[in-house]
Every structure is written in C-alpha cells, then in structure tokens.
C-alpha cells in the first residue's frame, strides 16, 4: 500500500458560530488523485482553505507525517510542496503571464532554487498556450487560459500535492476535458492531486479515491470506481444522463 501523504483527523472549521465542516477525516496517498465531490456549500472550499492554513481550524492535519495545523505557515507549506490552486484563480492580473509563473517559484527561490527558467519550460510543455501568451497580461486571458495559468503557476512550485479547487468551473466543455487530461498527466509525472469538483462524473473518472462531502461532513467515501456505480451518488450527483454537472 502506498504511504500516506496527507491525513486529517476530525477536522472542524467554524465561521463564527456556524460550523462549516464537522469532523472531516480524509487521507491522500502518494501518487493518487483523490477527489472531494459534493453540492455547493458543502464545505469543499473551506476544507482546502483549512488544509492550506488559511483558516483557523480544530482537529489534526498531518502532511508528510508532520502535524501542520497551527504549526506551519502558508509559505512553509508551499515550501514543502503543498500548493493550492484556488477557485477564484487569484492571478496577478496586471502582470505578465511569465511573471505570474515566475512568482509561482517564489517559495522555492527563497529556499535557494535558481532553476526557474527550466521549470518554466516544463510548464510550457504542459500548457503550450501559456508559452504563446507569455508576454501578455494575465488579466487579458480567457477563462480557460486563466485556469491554465493558475495551474501552471502552482506547478512552478514543484508541488508534491497539488490541490485544485473547482478547476472546471465556468469553462467550456472542451477546455474542461483538456484540464482533466492534464490532471491525469500530472499524476503520471508523480504529482499527487486533491481535486475538489462539482463536476462529479469527470472527477470520479480520473480519480483513484473519492469522498462525498455533504453539509460539512463526509457522507460517503470509497474507490472512485465504486462511487461511480453507487446508486446514491448516481441519483444525487451524476444525474440521469450525467451531463448536467459537466455543463455547470
């Protein structure tokens, strides 16, 4: 069995008096794609923010065997290869594509790495479109290109575990297909992926393991293949034709 890369135990996050996620325990093994699916407002983004140390949380989080909750800062986690691509992309709009990518390597730069040019070529090999647009301002990119840049920027940090928050959100079906193809490609390159998606069918098709998050708790967890055939998942998340979520 592959070793565990990240694990949470009874993770809870409150917004004021409202509990956004409640006793969530998940595990990501090295080299896997793990997906967290669930409806809007189930706490998926909150979970990722808590893992990244952006929100105060209770419970336990261990990354590479070390407890991180309240102990390791965001930049510390990025330096250890835990990188989040947020739902809103959070690009540096008035800076060039190349500068956005370069800043993805900031945490590594601080730790002495100077191979940014080569890393950027590797990113361009995965996203050739970004190479064409390298001098363009990030704010002028199309939606699909923005997602590619957000992922490319995260890859500049040479992540061990890449966390993607709704990478397909608001994108045309063809681009969505391309993004999921790249997620699989990243796995083949040895990057573990935590994929948070509303597009449940596409996510489960590429994932090794899946969690269903409902009302802030894990309602169901299993192999991705098992979840794809689970009647409850089919009814709630995959729909009859299963296409409604892809269009979302």
């Amino acid at each position: 069995m592959k070793p565990t890369l990240l694990e949470t135990q009874d993770l809870c996050v409150n917004y004021g008096r409202v509990e956004a996620i409640h006793k969530v325990s998940i595990r990501i093994r090295e080299g896997d794609i793990v997906t967290v699916i669930g409806p809007n407002g189930a706490g998926k983004t909150t979970l990722l923010s808590a893992l990244m140390g952006l929100l105060p949380a209770r419970g336990e989080v261990a990354y590479q065997g070390q407890p991180t909750l309240g102990k390791v800062s965001v930049d510390g986690l990025v330096g250890k290869g835990l990188v989040l691509v947020p739902e809103k992309r959070e690009l540096f709009g008035s800076m060039s594509v190349a500068d956005n990518l370069l800043l993805g390597a900031f945490a590594r730069h601080r730790r002495g790495a100077r191979d940014h040019a080569r890393t950027m070529e590797e990113v361009f090999a995965i996203f050739p479109r970004l190479a064409e647009r390298r001098a363009q301002e990030a704010g002028t990119l199309s939606g699909g290109e923005r997602q590619m840049l957000a992922m490319g920027r995260a890859l500049m940090a040479k992540p061990t575990l890449l966390m993607l928050d709704e990478p397909s959100l608001g994108l045309a079906p063809l681009i969505v297909k391309e993004i999921f193809r790249i997620v699989v490609q990243l796995k083949d390159m040895g990057v573990s992926v935590l994929l948070v998606e509303q597009n449940a069918r596409a996510a489960l098709q590429v994932a090794d393991y899946g969690y269903v998050l409902e009302n802030g708790s894990v309602a169901l967890e299993s192999d991705a293949r098992t979840l794809l055939n689970d009647p409850r998942v089919i009814e709630s998340y995959l729909g009859l034709g299963g296409s409604h979520s892809i269009a979302a």
Binding site: F92, D99, F106, A157
Partner: protein
C-alpha cells in the same frame, strides 16, 4: 519677477520636488503592499539628516541604542513565535540577526574615527543605524495587526509618528542640524546659478527612482511586492508571506526616507520635527497618484515642489496653505472620476 528669478525658483522647486517624489514613491509602495498610510515616513528624513550631521561632527550615531533596544524586542517576539511553532532550531539565528548584530555594530562604530572618515562611509554608517528601524517598527507595531482595517493601521501609524518625533527630540535635541555640501560651489548656467548640491540631489534622486523601478521590474522580490499589492491572497498562496513583504517595503521606505534626509541636509536646516511637513508633501504627491500610480505620484510630487517654491515667492505666508489646498481639487477630481472602491475589499 524676472526670468532669472523664475529659473531660480524652478530650480528650488525641482530640487525639493525630487525629494518629495522619492517620499511619495515610498508612501505608495507601503500603502499598496501593507495598506498602511505611513505617516512616520518624514521622521526617517529627519533621523537620516540629523544622524548624518552628528556623525559628520564626530559623534556616535544617536539612534544606535534605539536600534539595539528594538532589535532585542524583535528577537524576543520572534523567539516566542518560533517556540510556539516548535521551531527551536531557528532560535540562534533569530537572536543573532536581531539582537547580537546591532550590538556588534555599536561596538564596531565606537572604534571608528567617525569625524575623519570619507563622506560616503559616514553616509553608510548613518544609514546603518536608521534604516533597520523600518523593519523593526513593522515587526513590532504593524505585523501583529496586519489584518486590521485601514483606519486602525492609520491610528497605529499616527502613534508611531508621535513616538518617533518624541524620541527624535531626545536623541538629537532641539537644535537643528546641517551638513556640508557633497561638493561646494556651483556654476553659472545662462541667467541662473546652479549649486552642485542641487545636481547631486536631483541626480541621486533620479538614480534611486531608476533603481526602484529596476527592482520592481526585474528582481523576483520586487515582483513579489507588486504581486502582493495586486492580489494579497494569490501572493500568499505562492508562499509570499505578508510578513516578509511588509518587512521588505518598510526597509525600502526607511532607506528612501533616510537617504532623502542625507541629500537635503546640506541645503536646509533639519530639526527633529521637520520631517513631518516634508513627509506630508510627499503624501500630497502620492495622493495625486491616487496612492496607486508610481509615475503619477512622482509627477505630483514635483508639482508640489514647484508650487511650493513659487508660492513662497508670491505669498510666502501662505505657502503651506497653498500646497496643502492642492489636495482638495485632486480629491474632488478623483472621487468624480472613479467609482468608489471599498477600502476593505480584499483585492
């Protein structure tokens, strides 16, 4: 007013304007990155000028014990934070860098023949005991409340300003300070006489501005500061910590302020509380740039310098009034031209 007087006033205006431009750039930088309106910017001008005057007269840098005291305080605060995270391995470096290094510097400077040192070395020593105050003040006063509202940060900023003015009186006394010109004399250019010091000021200010531009355009740290100003969350997710960005831009602001003070000390007498007015004029320039645009801020600051110079000729009693009144039409124009942006908005 004949042409030669007009030229003389223009020369004066551009000289002061160059200094205001430097300060306005620092103010825009600090606000864009940390949302702090940096009122104490002017105090760094006064500290720089008066430290330079003291060293030039053969005295030890008056602020050296403040640097040591704040250094020890930073070391304590940082050590407590490191212990809480369980990072004991970082402790020796924290103590060395923040507390031991300043003490070593104080010991070293005691054995230097300050009065007979070359001018650039005196400048370096003055900077060495003023610039560290920037990051130290950020660490102690602003970093603990970095997530607070712009208003709260402004209040802290005002408090720091009063503290530094008070300490300035203690360190430098009520007497003003002045230093010899970098190069004495000047030359006649057409109908006007140009002092060499004027050329030094405008030249070095231009160089510093070019240096800042290069830093922001070329270096990864400069880009990281711009990125923080554009998108705080995005920068954080790339491992650009707000603490690092804040420390970096306060260092730059302190450097720019102290250097400005050293530049103008030969042409104006600086008192412990002179810095405030100078800083405020830089602030007017920064406001003209909407606290966001660097070129507009610099241009606005030059305009402030010229306006001040000409109004001191025509209506010297009202010169400050005229300069600060400039801010009213600018604010009116900005509030009409732009739609309102909530200052607590995250981006």
């Amino acid at each position: 007013m004949d042409f030669s007087v007009a030229l003389l006033l223009a020369q004066d205006g551009v000289t002061n304007g160059a200094i205001y431009a430097l300060l306005s750039l620092a103010l825009v930088l600090v606000f864009a990155v940390t949302r702090v309106i940096f009122i104490p910017q002017g105090e760094f001008v006064a500290y720089g000028a008066l430290s330079m005057a003291a060293i030039n007269a053969g005295f030890l840098p008056p602020t050296m014990w403040l640097v040591v005291t704040l250094g020890i305080a930073v070391a304590v605060v940082e050590s407590v934070a490191a212990l809480r995270e369980g990072a004991t391995a970082r402790l020796p470096m924290i103590v060395f860098r923040n507390a031991v290094l300043p003490i070593l510097a104080v010991i070293a400077v005691r054995y230097l023949p300050l009065k007979s040192l070359a001018y650039p070395l005196q400048v370096a020593i003055a900077l060495a005991f003023v610039v560290p105050l920037g990051p130290q003040i950020y660490r102690l006063a602003f970093q603990p409340v970095a997530e607070a509202t712009v208003l709260l940060l402004l209040i802290v900023s005002v408090a720091v300003h009063f503290m530094l003015v008070g300490l300035g009186l203690y360190f430098f006394g009520a007497e003003g300070g002045r230093t010899p010109a970098f190069t004495d004399g000047g030359f006649t250019l057409g109908p006007t006489y140009v002092q060499f010091q004027t050329l030094w000021i405008v030249g070095i200010a231009a160089l510093l501005i070019a240096g800042l531009a290069l830093f922001f355009e070329r270096s990864i740290y400069g880009k990281a500061l711009r990125a923080t100003a554009i998108n705080r969350t995005g920068a954080r997710l790339m491992g650009i910590s707000a603490d690092l960005a804040g420390k970096l831009c306060f260092t730059l602001a302190a450097l720019v302020g102290a250097f400005s003070g050293i530049l103008i000390a030969p042409i104006t007498t600086i008192y412990y509380d002179t810095g405030f007015l100078i800083g405020l004029k830089g602030f007017v320039g920064a406001i003209i740039g909407g606290l966001a645009s660097y070129p507009l801020a610099a241009a606005g600051a030059i305009l402030v310098g010229l306006l001040e110079s000409y109004s001191s000729f025509y209506a010297s009693a009202y010169k400050e009034v005229i300069v600060f009144t400039l801010i009213i039409p600018v604010l009116l124009w900005q509030s009409l031209a732009k739609h309102h942006v909530d200052d607590e908005d995250e981006h």
